[in-house]
């Protein structure tokens, strides 16, 4: 028995365990996140939510899974079969692939079992770039799925998705560039370690609050979550890009979307809120027995809170109109993220105290508010009044 282990490189076992843990946990967690989302939505609307399968409906995910597997799988007659079948796979594959460089626990923590590494691919120097590159490929799943269905509504939905993802890719990347400059690295693990060793006040949220807001907003738009799910808005486009999809292929799209949400939440927690770091109980110095479990739980708790916030926002903000969506990205988020990056560059170049960045961020936000309000006021002032309009109409 020992002989066999000699021939298997240890790294292979570690990687396989990491992959199995990540993918298995991901699929299990997603099915229960869907249940949680349905329950939360129900509670917010004074309903009860799924409560028929098991106590409080806790076996609902199994019923859903069985339903998805057993339903009739329809492929429209005039659909492009190859792309139609490939699209859900692309959607899930790319979002899963992005998770490969996300540390989902305390990487390299002392005391953890040797076969647990908490990251599938450790030490990727361009981790953030890799994530953005791969997750923006996920829109290919949506575009191809909508186009291959040979349905006008699906095609419109996928067109919207492509425009939206391209627009929000820019602020998403630029908001994180500030952190990359401050930490002078693109490696997610290193960014996490910097915050953990620096303590509570070195969480990047305190120096980059504006970037955090921009990142969170654009990431929700990237994941096609409400209030940015223009590509599948039921009132206008039937079901959007997945109108023609049924059974397991439909489920794959949703797995992809939820994987995206989870990856986004992990990134928000790691990049801005210190990852597994929490003062007193889980710091870089904490060496008590089982510290790695506490660190893991701290990270998962942070991620869970971000996910719940995303679910709460879903029923809080109504869906944007498409021009509002584009205005938000091109007129607000992109200039703001540019200005944010510029201020980081200035602070670093002149060697100023980086605590200035917090007030600068708030100042930028207020400035943007003043500018947009000023423009709106000017527009209102120069608009003909009701009395004038009525005169014009009569003459």
């Amino acid at each position: 028995m020992d002989k066999i282990f000699e021939y298997i490189p240890q790294g292979l076992i570690i990687t396989l365990v990491a992959i199995v843990a990540a993918v298995g946990a991901m699929l299990g967690v997603i099915s229960y996140l869907i249940l949680l989302e349905r329950k939360l939505s129900a509670w917010m609307q004074d309903r009860r939510g799924p409560n028929r399968v098991g106590p409080m409906g806790i076996f609902q995910p199994f019923a859903d899974g069985a339903k998805f597997l057993l339903k009739e799988d329809v492929i429209p007659a005039n659909a492009d079969k190859v792309l139609f079948l490939a699209a859900p796979g692309i959607g899930l594959l790319t979002t899963m692939l992005a998770f490969a460089v996300v540390p989902y626990g305390p990487v390299g923590a002392a005391g953890a079992p040797w076969f647990l590494r908490f990251i599938i691919v450790p030490g990727v120097d361009i981790g953030i770039v890799f994530i953005f590159a791969v997750t923006s490929l996920a829109v290919y799943g949506v575009i191809l799925g909508g186009w291959a269905s040979n349905n006008k509504y699906s095609a419109l939905g996928s067109l919207r998705a492509s425009a939206q993802v391209i627009s929000y890719e820019i602020p998403l990347g630029m908001s994180v560039l500030g952190i990359a400059l401050l930490g002078s690295t693109l490696d997610i693990e290193k960014i996490l370690t910097q915050q953990a060793s620096g303590g509570f006040w070195s969480w990047y949220f305190w120096t980059q609050p504006l970037a955090c807001l921009i990142f969170f907003t654009s990431a929700m738009a990237e994941a096609n979550r409400l209030p940015f799910d223009l590509s599948e808005c039921e009132q206008e486009l039937v079901g959007g890009f997945h109108t023609e999809y049924s059974s397991m292929k439909f489920a794959l799209f949703f797995l992809g979307e939820y994987t995206h949400v989870i990856t986004t939440s992990f990134l928000t927690a790691i990049l801005f809120f210190g990852g597994w770091h929490f003062p007193w109980i889980a710091t870089a110095e904490s060496a008590y027995a089982g510290a790695w479990i506490v660190k893991l739980l701290v990270l998962l708790a942070k991620v869970f809170m971000v996910i719940v916030l995303i679910m709460l926002l879903r029923w809080t903000i109504p869906r944007f109109r498409f021009d509002q969506l584009m205005n938000l990205s091109w007129k607000a988020l992109i200039p703001l993220s540019l200005a944010n990056m510029l201020s980081v560059m200035t602070v670093l170049q002149f060697g100023w105290d980086r605590w200035l960045l917090g007030p600068i961020s708030i100042g930028l936000f207020v400035l943007a508010g003043v500018i947009s309000v000023g423009f709106k006021r000017a527009e209102i002032r120069h608009r003909p009044s009701a009395a004038e309009l009525s005169q014009q109409l009569v003459t």
Binding site: L40, A42, W43, M44, Q45, D46, R47, R48, L312, L313, W315, T316, I317, G369, V370, S372, V373, K376, I380, S385, A386, A387, L389, S390, L393, V394
Partner: protein
């Protein structure tokens, strides 16, 4: 045709303040509302199969054909319900009553009511002179075929047997007796349905069903404003 000037109402867009324009207070308020609903969770959903709804007494569900005190069908096959039915879902075949039923001339040889065509308006119940047809509280009517839901006389009598002791479905009038029309000989031959005041138009009619106009040029005006 252009819209008349008086028909147009001009409305100014309400002025927005600085914070209102950033939409942040609105988002925070919205989050407060959603979180309040989660923490102070008061569902309004009725758990249907376990909790049955409390229906009003006048609820109109599946029909029943009442029995009289001897257990016979109360219906006298007068066809008033079939005539009143707006959905045309009742078909009755009348036959001469058996000789040992001295209180009536006819009885329904077949009474077929299509529950799928019925719109549950209750007109048949209103029309029935002997209180033979009534609408019960049964609302969960299901069947596996259309034929199953076309109720004949026996099925409608079964509904009566099932619901007669239910406090929600009391026999509405004269429990255990035939309605007033069955005792026609004991009733006065002519009587006003209601008391008519002297000033009423109907009291001035020269013939039943007509309203004279020769000394009242505006017969349909309200009496208070009539010239």
């Amino acid at each position: 045709m252009p819209v008349a000037k008086n028909d147009v109402m001009w409305i100014e867009e309400p002025e927005m303040g600085f914070w209102e324009m950033t939409f942040l207070p609105a988002i925070v308020d919205g989050l407060k509302t959603t979180i309040k609903h989660v923490t102070n969770y008061q569902p309004v959903t009725q758990q249907y199969p376990e909790e049955k709804p409390v229906l009003p007494l006048h609820y109109r569900g599946v029909h029943r054909l009442n029995r009289d005190e001897k257990g016979r069908v109360k219906c006298v096959a007068c066809m008033l319900c079939a005539t009143a039915c707006p959905a045309d879902c009742i078909s009755i075949e009348a036959a001469a009553a058996p000789p040992d039923w001295p209180d009536r001339d006819k009885f329904p040889a077949s009474f077929i009511l299509d529950e799928l065509r019925c719109i549950y308006c209750g007109m048949c119940e209103e029309a029935c002179p002997v209180d033979a047809i009534e609408l019960t509280h049964i609302y969960d009517l299901t069947g596996e075929s259309r034929e199953e839901l076309i109720y004949n006389r026996e099925k409608l009598l079964d509904v009566y047997d099932k619901t007669k002791d239910d406090p929600r479905d009391p026999l509405r009038t004269r429990r255990g007796k035939l309605g007033p029309a069955a005792e026609f000989s004991t009733l006065p031959t002519v009587a006003p349905a209601t008391q008519v005041t002297p000033g009423d138009r109907s009291a001035q009619s020269i013939a039943p069903g007509t309203i004279h106009t020769f000394n009242n040029p505006h017969p349909f005006d309200d009496p208070g404003t009539a010239r």
